[in-house]
């Protein structure tokens, strides 16, 4: 048997998380270094997974399975395909940088890192799960540590409210998705949760698919922050400690989009086709509304929070087009946005930790004191605006093209408006450019307000390392998209095969 690398990458963080609870609580340095070393191991593993995947072969690879509860057809099955592979890599990047950024956490770091690693286990588990039960299992594992992490280490003003809101939104979503998945299990009569088998053998009537698709898709997409279920997300981002915001916006929201695709679209393609126009509309609202709200925010974190809503709207829009371009764009956007938001939140965290404010008008001239943070923020901004040569462009262009062509598939009630949806969404980028440039201008340039001048101490080497990792991954995708593009194409091909196009 081959080395079960996907199982290792999933359970290793879980084991580390559990072991951390047994560390002496006062030896904080030891805890931090253990966490860093463990996260580096996972980073190496995720890079290995990424580059062992055989692009020419495509499909699902590195399959690892085990009959978990055979009596009811529950299997533990993990595998990666072109859609999940970039996400596996992204999780490794965000976990490592998250640990680096959290070096300064001084209140109960043991619990913090333990929960962070449990969270990471859940996230990796979802991205590689190929059994509906396994997927749900890890999905919920990924949700609950968020509550404690936000409530314990978050921003004092809103953390309790935000943590509860976030948890309840996500759990209710996942329960409805669970009901949908159980309906599939019962209807298929195959007696298994194995998604490979369900995908190949289950015959779901169109009516069944139309009824149950919303349960599954909406249940999961809540986590991607789709309108009108986006409300928890900016509030959660703002209240969360930096590493959690990074994880949350960077990886967790992709979890929702990915699971909605894997369980919703792939297993219930007819349902997806039926509901597609409605999802396009909701995603379109996300894109425009998110960026408009972001424009009005004075708090940097709220601004990026709403910008995430807007960018995740593009992911959902890409998924909803159900065509090759859109799906490829969505895949790229998931990675690009993940790394970009992680970068944004880490920069904001560094500024906030020093200046003790995130309000744009109260900041200024940060560039002079923290040049690296400034440069990183600007790079993030360029990605966010979809500048050519940056990853945002690589990802967003196909989404707009896909949206434009979405109507070609067949007549539906918004058939004549897809082009407009694409154009207006693209114009939302202009709004993004406006608020990003405004923020960069007034936070990083100009005079340093006296109040914060003394506080802007240099950043740690850990912070610098994290910035470098994130910037390098963004630039790599922007300058040479082929290394990810080809991978995602293989994943898209199998989705397209299911959709019969």
């Amino acid at each position: 048997m081959d080395f079960p690398i996907l199982s290792v990458i999933t359970f290793f963080p879980g084991i580390v998380g559990a072991l951390l609870f047994f560390f002496p609580e006062d030896n904080k340095e030891q805890i931090r270094w253990t966490a860093l070393l463990a996260s580096l191991v996972t980073l190496v593993l995720s890079v290995m997974v990424y580059f062992t995947y055989d692009v020419d072969l495509g499909g699902y690879q590195m399959v690892d399975r085990f009959a978990w509860i055979p009596a009811v057809g529950i299997n533990y099955i993990v595998a990666v395909d072109g859609m999940s592979l970039p996400m596996v890599l992204l999780t490794g990047i965000v976990l490592t940088t998250g640990v680096l950024i959290s070096w300064g956490i001084d209140d109960r770091p043991r619990e913090f890192f333990a929960l962070l690693f449990l969270l990471a286990m859940g996230v990796w588990g979802v991205f590689v799960a190929q059994d509906m039960f396994t997927l749900f299992f890890f999905y919920e594992v990924a949700v609950f540590p968020m509550y404690l992490m936000i409530a314990m280490w978050g921003w004092k003003k809103t953390r309790e409210y935000a943590a509860m809101k976030l948890t309840l939104f996500l759990v209710v979503g996942s329960l409805f998705a669970l009901i949908g998945a159980l309906a599939m299990y019962a209807e298929s009569g195959l007696g298994t949760f194995d998604m490979f088998i369900i995908q190949e053998q289950a015959v779901f009537s169109e009516r069944f698919q139309i009824i149950w698709f919303p349960f599954v898709f909406v249940g999961f997409i809540v986590l991607a922050g789709m309108f009108p279920f986006h409300n928890w997300s900016p509030v959660g981002h703002v209240a969360a400690p930096t590493a959690v915001s990074m994880f949350h916006a960077g990886v967790l929201m992709k979890l929702g989009a990915y699971a909605a695709l894997r369980v919703g679209v792939v297993l219930l393609p007819e349902g997806a086709k039926f509901w597609m126009p409605y999802i396009v509309i909701a995603a379109f609202i996300n894109v425009v509304y998110g960026s408009l709200i972001a424009m009005t925010r004075k708090d940097l974190k709220y601004m990026i929070g709403y910008s995430s809503v807007s960018h995740m709207g593009l992911v959902v829009l890409g998924l909803a087009t159900l065509n090759e371009l859109g799906l490829t764009g969505a895949g790229l956007q998931m990675f690009s946005h993940g790394a970009m938001t992680a970068l944004f939140f880490s920069c904001i965290g560094m500024v906030y930790d020093r200046a003790h404010t995130r309000m744009i008008p109260e900041l200024g001239g940060v560039m002079k004191k923290l040049p690296m943070v400034g440069v990183a923020f600007i790079i993030g901004g360029l990605v966010s605006m979809g500048m050519p040569l940056f990853s945002g462009f690589v990802a967003e262009l196909p989404i707009f093209m896909g949206a434009w062509r979405a109507g070609v598939q067949g007549p539906d009630f918004i058939a004549n408006y897809y082009a407009w949806i694409a154009i207006i969404s693209a114009l939302a980028i202009v709004i993004t450019a406006a608020y990003i440039i405004r923020a960069v201008g007034s936070v990083f340039f100009g005079e340093i307000p006296e109040k914060i001048e003394a506080d802007l101490t240099p950043i740690r080497w850990q912070d610098r390392t994290a910035i470098v990792i994130l910037v390098v991954s963004l630039l790599a995708l922007g300058f040479y998209p082929a290394w990810m593009d080809t991978v995602i194409k293989t994943g898209v091909d199998s989705v397209m095969a299911v959709l019969g196009a």
Binding site: E140, R159, L182, Y185
Partner: protein, 489 residues
């Protein structure tokens, strides 16, 4: 009905219970003989006695081959009954250890003897298939449980709760007994299988049958603390000594479920009967869950919170039960497995409450503020217990709930699954609120750390591992539940 004739070997089937009688006598003797600190041993002896009964039971009394009706049809030796007996023995053992350090109870041999008597009663509830045997077993359980609840005679709350429990119990059990007598009068049988045969002849009118079902449901509903027979629960749980609350909320409730399975599925499930009482139990399931969860939101006392949460859990379990017509074995195995997970989890939660109350002298949720700083490990255990109650993986409660949702969906009861999902959300909210107090709120100045004695450490460790194993490597336990379910039909 043809009952197998009597053989001395049949006594092996009830060997665990016979051993327990011996242990009870031993503990009573120790009560007279032991002096001073060594009286603490009585609790451990009781716990070890339960475990010995369990192990010997597995070796000797575990049913092999086809289920058999024994002792003139009064008991049935089947896997399902055995699984339930195992649960009661485990719950009894944990309760004995948890009590061993409690002031006013830990050094009283009579207390442990009554505890053993309760478990003996429950064990017979699990295997009884005859109305008379069933009633005897239920009363043995109930009367001992009343005594346990009111055991702290110089504590008004304990005495009050014992009396309350008794009054409710006596009335509901009388109604049930009346139902039993009608059943006997109409069918001429006391054996459940005999009754089933007679009822299927169709000589009993529908109205009569439903009336009887409702009367019996009164008695069982009281045991389950299902709506509308739940009113005693919060008061009794709050007033009773906490280990007894733990015991009643887990073992006693579980015993109610096995009786529900035996009486309703074996005896009363004629097609016309089911059409009458199943919708009723469905409604009870939905209302019990919802009511338990909603009222739990308003609680400020941890024992009352857990009382209402236990009402809600009874409701979830009923949801799995009502699916039995479409998916009989899946339904019974889901009920059984859920009860396994619930027993371990709830005992763990109460163990934390006992330990905390010992130091803080309070059961108010507000006093749990900052417990994670006073005792990080105990807080972690509490987190595990509460997340398991809320149904979060990788803990037992998740898998238990998963199987319930699964069987409910298998039976096509989508509305009930949605009720369950919304309830899970409400429940998650109040469990998280408690955990927020524990982890986020600041501890009072100079609050002492919480010491944990070694026996408690062992119990906490075993239960925690159990909760995690039942949420991950649960296959053998679930297979056990399935074996029980298939032996039942």
């Amino acid at each position: 009905m043809d009952f197998t004739s009597f053989e001395a070997a049949h006594f092996l089937v009830i060997l665990p219970e016979i051993i327990l009688v011996g242990i009870a006598a031993l503990v009573m003797t120790m009560d007279v003989v032991q002096k001073g600190e060594s009286r603490r041993m009585m609790g451990y002896v009781t716990a070890l006695g339960f475990l010995a009964a369990l192990l010997i039971g597995i070796a000797v009394a575990a049913p092999s081959g086809d289920p058999k009706l024994l002792f003139g049809g009064t008991i049935r030796s089947d896997m399902l009954g055995f699984v339930f007996r195992a649960m009661f023995l485990v719950a009894g053992a944990v309760t004995a250890v948890l009590t061993s350090d409690v002031k006013g109870l830990g050094k009283r041999g009579d207390f442990f003897a009554v505890l053993i008597a309760t478990v003996i009663g429950m064990n017979f509830m699990a295997i009884a298939t005859d109305l008379i045997m069933l009633y005897l077993a239920m009363e043995t359980t109930s009367i001992s449980a009343y005594a346990l609840t009111g055991f702290l005679l110089n504590n008004d709350r304990s005495a009050e709760s014992g009396l309350k429990y008794f009054l409710f119990g006596a009335v509901t059990s009388t109604v049930m007994l009346f139902g039993f007598s009608l059943l006997y009068g109409l069918t001429g049988h006391t054996n459940l299988y005999g009754i089933a045969e007679a009822l299927s002849a169709g000589n009993v009118s529908f109205v009569m049958l439903i009336g009887i079902a409702i009367m019996i449901l009164v008695g069982i509903g009281f045991k389950l603390s299902a709506f509308p027979f739940h009113f005693w629960t919060p008061d009794v749980y709050e007033g009773a000594p906490t280990p007894i609350t733990a015991f009643i909320s887990t073992a006693s409730k579980t015993a109610g479920f096995i009786v529900l399975l035996r009486v309703f599925i074996v005896a009363l499930s004629t097609s016309s009967g089911v059409a009458g009482w199943l919708p009723l139990i469905m409604a009870i399931a939905a209302v019990t869950t919802t009511l338990g969860n909603l009222v739990a939101l308003a609680q400020t006392n941890i024992k009352r919170l857990l009382a209402y949460s236990s009402i809600a859990h009874a409701g979830y379990t009923l949801m799995a039960f009502v699916a039995f017509q479409q998916a009989p074995e899946e339904s019974v195995s889901a009920v059984t497995f859920y009860l396994m997970t619930y027993i371990l989890t709830n005992l763990l939660a109460f163990a934390v409450v006992i330990l905390f109350a010992k130091v803080a002298g309070s059961d108010e949720i507000a006093d749990y503020a900052g417990m994670s700083r006073r005792s990080p490990n105990l807080a972690l255990v509490m987190l595990i217990a509460f997340l398991s109650l809320a149904g979060i993986p990788p803990l037992a409660g998740f898998l238990g709930k998963f199987f319930i949702f699964k069987v409910v969906m298998d039976a096509g009861l989508v509305w009930l699954a949605i009720v369950g999902a919304l309830n899970a959300l409400v429940a998650l909210y109040y469990y998280l609120v408690v955990m927020k107090v524990v982890y986020v709120d600041p501890a009072p100045e100079g609050a002492p750390r919480i010491p944990i004695a070694t026996p408690y450490r062992i119990v906490l460790a075993v239960l925690t591992v159990g909760v995690i194993v039942l949420g991950t490597a649960a296959t053998p336990f679930y297979n056990w539940a399935i074996a029980g379910a298939s032996s039942f039909f």
